[in-house]
């Protein structure tokens, strides 16, 4: 019997996730997701209106691996980094091996020349699931408060 999903474990997953992206360790990023997963970036306007399409859509972990390969090997963008500040998760549904949470985020983008700006704010609509003994994201939908993206979105939220 696997350990129950506790708030502490959810917090640890959230902390490890943003640490991975903010440290530029994108290769480890898909590892936070279950094999079958949904990762999506959209806007609150689309989300509210029931419009499915967003900025990024991936419904397998392999698509996340492909995105990392593309960002590392193919895509051209100026050197940049994110600083995620993540708020406290609300657990909106809790089952034995799965929980649904909502967590606000703020992402500052730091360009190579030092220019820092608020790049995105919003809420993660997550479903976390126990895969073996490990907690993974079965769903991470980043709903951005704004429909605007400055210049381009290279790194994932």
């Amino acid at each position: 019997m696997a350990e129950a999903i506790t708030l502490e474990r959810i917090l640890a997953l959230q902390a490890a996730y943003i640490r991975c992206i903010d440290n530029g360790e994108l290769e480890r990023w898909p590892g936070f997701f279950a094999d079958r997963c949904l990762y999506k970036i959209t806007s609150s306007e689309n989300h509210r209106s029931g419009l499915d399409a967003g900025i990024i859509y991936a419904d397998t972990r392999d698509m996340l691996l492909d995105r990392v390969t593309s960002l590392r090997q193919a895509n051209v963008y100026e050197k940049q980094a994110y600083r995620h500040i993540v708020g406290l998760p609300s657990i909106v549904r809790q089952g034995a091996d799965e929980a649904e949470t909502e967590t606000p985020f703020l992402v500052v983008r730091i360009m190579h020349d030092g220019e820092s700006s608020i790049f995105a704010t919003g809420v993660y609509l997550d479903v976390v699931r126990l895969q073996g003994d490990t907690l993974k994201f079965a769903q991470r939908v980043a709903v951005c408060d704004s429909s605007r993206v400055d210049t381009l979105m290279a790194l994932p939220l």
């Binding site: 689309n46 399409a53 900025i55 859509y57 698509m63 492909d66 193919a74 429909s147 979105m153």
Partner: protein
């Protein structure tokens, strides 16, 4: 105003920067920097004899539906009236100039300005003035005031294959003539049945709007800047391409397709022929392509002067509306869409293919930044010029995409509208 000279602030460059009249192969950089040019573009171009894309007909599908949009910098309301016709008018109250409509769109019976409650119908006609007769016999408008003499400017409307275009000019040619037969056919090829909007976003570009519009028309850069397909060793050798340009030069379509002979057995497999596993797509559904238009064309990028891009990249369909937000700032409004009869499988395919385009698109994200690289690069080069000699000096399509003919076409049309 004579704008065929660099503005004072930019004129310390060593070269004379008159725009050579007899060639389309040079573009002076001051055209991306000058406040005078920005003002004149609004007057002569966006409010001139052009068809500005306003919205999709599907976005104002029912009587009472409305959307706000822009013609250059001018705020505009598009509405479908109770007579089922589409109207567009400047989003500016005839009284003090405040916006009449404050949100992005919705459904209404009429519009009331929040400032002093002047009221308009869905055609933009002024219908009521608050306290027009005064209060208790005092105040009120003069008896000579006639509501029909006052109102926001109205636009002419043209509908083409579900696209709503607007113009402030009485001299603009019919939209079919404006687009030309070839570009018109390429629009109808994609928009051939009822569409459904699937999402919207805005990409803010750190550059003059013309740098983005040129980029869309620049078939030369595609495989050089965007290396996604080559990185993943996606075999595209069997593909043929083409380019068509409208008679006025301003609109274009570039496209590539698989030879019909190969399509039956090879179409869905063409995407994924990787020799090195390191660079194979781990999830090939990104390129799980179907020949949904029945002609083997898997990619078509089309522009309509001055502000519309219609995109088909595999099954990723989108409208991109280009709107200037300042001399060096541009809003790119993305509207992704599918068709009303899409199956669940097709809906998912479009969602997956949408990863190819948009602000995070595998084959388009660079376009969001490259205009800024130019805008920054030319910071003190107002007296210098860009070179557009790839594929000759004309604005006529040839059987290749290794050409800047379509970019020269843009400048041909732009200079005719601007008189510079």
């Amino acid at each position: 105003m004579n704008v065929n000279v660099p503005p004072e602030a930019l004129s310390n460059a060593p070269h004379p920067a008159e725009w050579p009249k007899d060639t389309l192969t040079r573009v002076p950089y001051w055209v991306y920097q000058s406040p005078d040019v920005f003002v004149l573009e609004q007057q002569r171009l966006f409010e001139g004899p052009v068809w500005n894309f306003l919205c999709l007909e599907a976005e104002v599908a029912k009587p009472g539906d409305y959307r706000v949009t822009q013609v250059g910098s001018m705020p505009v309301v598009v509405a479908r009236d109770l007579d089922d016709e589409i109207y567009a008018f400047e989003n500016r109250c005839a009284h003090r100039g405040a916006l009449i409509v404050l949100d992005g769109g919705g459904h209404a019976r009429d519009f009331t300005c929040v400032y002093h409650a002047w009221n308009y119908d869905l055609k933009g006609n002024l219908k009521a003035v608050a306290f027009e007769d005064g209060v208790n016999g005092k105040g009120g408008m003069a008896r000579t005031f006639c509501r029909s003499d006052h109102g926001p400017r109205k636009l002419r409307i043209a509908l083409f294959a579900g696209l709503v275009f607007g113009s402030l000019s009485d001299d603009v040619p019919p939209v079919e003539e404006y687009l030309g037969d070839e570009v018109g056919a390429k629009i109808k090829r994609v928009l051939h049945k009822p569409v459904v909007v699937t999402g919207r976003s805005t990409q803010m570009l750190p550059n003059n709007w013309k740098l983005y519009f040129e980029n869309v028309k620049d078939t030369y850069h595609a495989s050089l800047l965007h290396t996604f397909f080559t990185t993943f060793r996606i075999n595209r050798l069997s593909q043929r391409g083409g380019l068509v340009i409208s008679p006025n030069g301003g609109s274009h379509a570039s496209f590539s397709y698989v030879d019909k002979a190969n399509t039956d057995h090879d179409y869905s497999a063409m995407g994924i022929r990787s020799e090195k596993d390191d660079f194979a797509l781990k999830d090939p559904t990104l390129l799980d392509t179907v020949d949904e238009f029945g002609d083997g064309c898997h990619m078509q990028i089309l522009s309509v002067f001055p502000n519309l891009v219609l995109q088909q990249i595999h099954s990723a369909l989108a409208i991109r509306q280009v709107l200037p937000k300042g001399i060096d700032r541009t809003a790119l409004n993305w509207t992704t869409f599918g068709f009303a009869d899409d199956t669940p499988e097709m809906k998912r395919r479009r969602l997956v293919h949408n990863n190819l385009a948009g602000p995070a698109g595998y084959v388009s994200m660079e376009d969001g930044a490259v205009g800024g690289f130019v805008q920054r690069g030319i910071a003190t080069a107002g007296g210098e010029q860009a070179v557009l000699e790839m594929g000759g000096a004309e604005a006529v399509a040839e059987g290749t995409r290794a050409t800047e003919a379509s970019v020269r076409g843009f400048w041909k049309c732009y200079r005719a509208q601007m008189g510079i």
